[in-house]
Amino acid sequence: MAQQKIYFFGRLAEQLGRSREVEMVEEPITIRDLRVALAAQAVDFADALVDPRVRACVDGVIVTDDALVRAGQEIAFIPPLSGG
């Protein structure tokens, strides 16, 4: 089972820290399933992960919940952008 770093930005980074090490229980996995798996592992960021306004980024690109992700890719969860 691979260790995986998950990054957070904005409000989420303030609440949860800049990143967390989690277990990738299976892979490839959809973002939708990853949210559920991570929420079970890390109770304190369950709220963030189930909020549909919080979106996932894979390798720096915002993706939908259907996107597949593998261990070793850069994974982040981000709140709505504020703009510049």
């Binding site: 904005g10 720096g60 709140p79 703009g83």
Partner: protein
């Protein structure tokens, strides 16, 4: 044609940036700049002690670069410079500096105006307003979305 993008974590000096931009030009006659300064109060009128801009290294630069590339495709501009602060900005300090150049002024004005409307809604930042009593994260406003929409129906063929 040159596009330059920079995230500036420390101190953004509009005058030095304008000088460097003008010095780098190659015969263009028109230069438009926009400087966005941190206002000392929030939209609700609270006194602000700071504005923190969180960014996602790589993704944020790409969001700005995409905006600049779109502007270059839409308008007959020669050079585009975008410098955006990240980190903690203090009241009165510059948050963003945009400069455009072109042989004729119309394109330079339009491109700078467009860049700012796009940056305001699409640049990859998370902003937190700090006051003496607390802080809160802010989201794009309806006005930002409306400003961006100004550009959706014009220059469609360009």
């Amino acid at each position: 044609m040159a596009i330059t993008i920079r995230l500036e974590p420390e101190n953004l000096q509009p005058d030095a940036e304008l000088r460097a931009f003008i010095t780098s030009l190659n015969g263009d006659g028109a230069v438009v700049s926009f400087t966005g300064l941190m206002r000392p109060t929030s939209k609700e009128g609270e006194a602000l002690t700071g504005l923190f801009l969180d960014h996602y290294p790589g993704m944020t630069e790409r969001s700005i670069s995409d905006i600049a590339t779109d502007a270059a495709a839409k308008f007959a501009v020669e050079d585009i410079l975008i410098i955006h602060r990240c980190g903690l900005v203090l009241p009165g300090a510059a948050i963003v500096f945009v400069a455009t150049s072109s042989p004729h002024r119309r394109a330079a004005f339009e491109a700078a105006d467009y860049l700012m409307d796009r940056l305001k809604s699409d640049a990859g930042f998370w902003k937190r307003e700090d006051t003496a009593t607390g802080s809160h994260w802010i989201e794009p406003t309806a006005q930002d979305a409306k400003d961006k929409e100004r550009w959706s129906n014009i220059h469609a063929g360009n």
